[in-house]
Symmetry: C2
Subunit: 96 residues, 2 copies
DNA sequence: TGGCTATTTGTCCCTTTTGCCAAATACCTG
DNA sequence: CAGGTATTTGGCAAAAGGGACAAATAGCCA
C-alpha cells in the first residue's frame, strides 16, 4: 500500500473525531471555549471519561488547552472539522 | 447530551473512514471503480479482510457495489469524503 | 453436473477502546 | 500548611475492532 504513513496519520485524526461524545465536544467548543466541568455537565458522564476524550482530541491536534488558575480551558483549533459534517449529511441524504 | 442520535450517526460514518486501509480504498475508488481482487493486490493483505473493509464502507453509505458476472465492482458514492483530507492536512500544518 | 474463479461469512485470537471508580496531582485560599 | 476545587491518571472489566484461515456461496464454462 503506497504512502502508508500518510494514511495512518489521516486515520488517526479521523478516529479521534469518530465518537459521538467527542463530536459533541467539538460542536460545543466551536461555540466557544469551555472548561472540563462545563463539558461534563452537558454530556452527563464521568468527568474522568470526559478528560480522556479531551486528551484524545488534543493529541490529534483538533483542540488545545490553556490553564486558567485551577481550570483547563479547552478551545477548538481547527473549525474546518465541522465541514466534515456536511459531507456526512450528504451521504445520509443519498441513502434515503 | 442533546441530539444524541445525530452524533451517533455521524460518528458511525466517520468511524467507517477512520482506518488506513479504508482511506486507501476510498482514494483508489476515487480514481475509478475496482473489484475486490484489484484492491486486494494493491493493499497486500488477505482478501477476506479487504472484503470486510468494503462491507464497512458500504454499510456506511460511502461506497456502493455492482455485480459483474462473478465479480463485485465497487465505486465511490460520495467523493466529498476526500474533502475531509484537506482539513486533516490543515491540522497537521498547525502542529508543525 | 463438476470444476474454476471471485467474493463473502464463520470462527478464533489478540489488541484497542470506553467507561467507571479511586487515587494522584495541581492550584488557590485561609 | 490544611482544606477545597478542578483535572488527570491508574487499574479494571466489558465491548468492539482487525486480521488470518477455512468454509460457504455465487456465477461462469466445459
Amino acid at each position: 500500500m503506497l504512502d502508508n504513513e500518510r494514511y495512518t496519520y489521516m486515520a488517526s485524526v479521523m478516529k479521534a473525531m469518530a465518537h459521538p461524545t467527542r463530536l459533541f465536544i467539538v460542536d460545543e467548543l466551536d461555540k466557544g471555549p469551555k472548561n472540563v466541568g462545563e463539558l461534563t455537565a452537558m454530556v452527563g458522564i464521568d468527568m474522568s471519561t470526559i478528560s480522556r476524550h479531551l486528551s484524545i482530541l488534543r493529541h490529534a491536534g483538533i483542540i488545545a488547552a490553556t490553564k486558567n488558575n485551577n481550570q483547563m480551558i479547552y478551545r477548538l483549533l481547527c473549525p474546518c472539522v465541522l465541514d466534515m459534517y456536511k459531507c456526512v449529511l450528504k451521504i445520509k441524504e443519498q441513502e434515503d
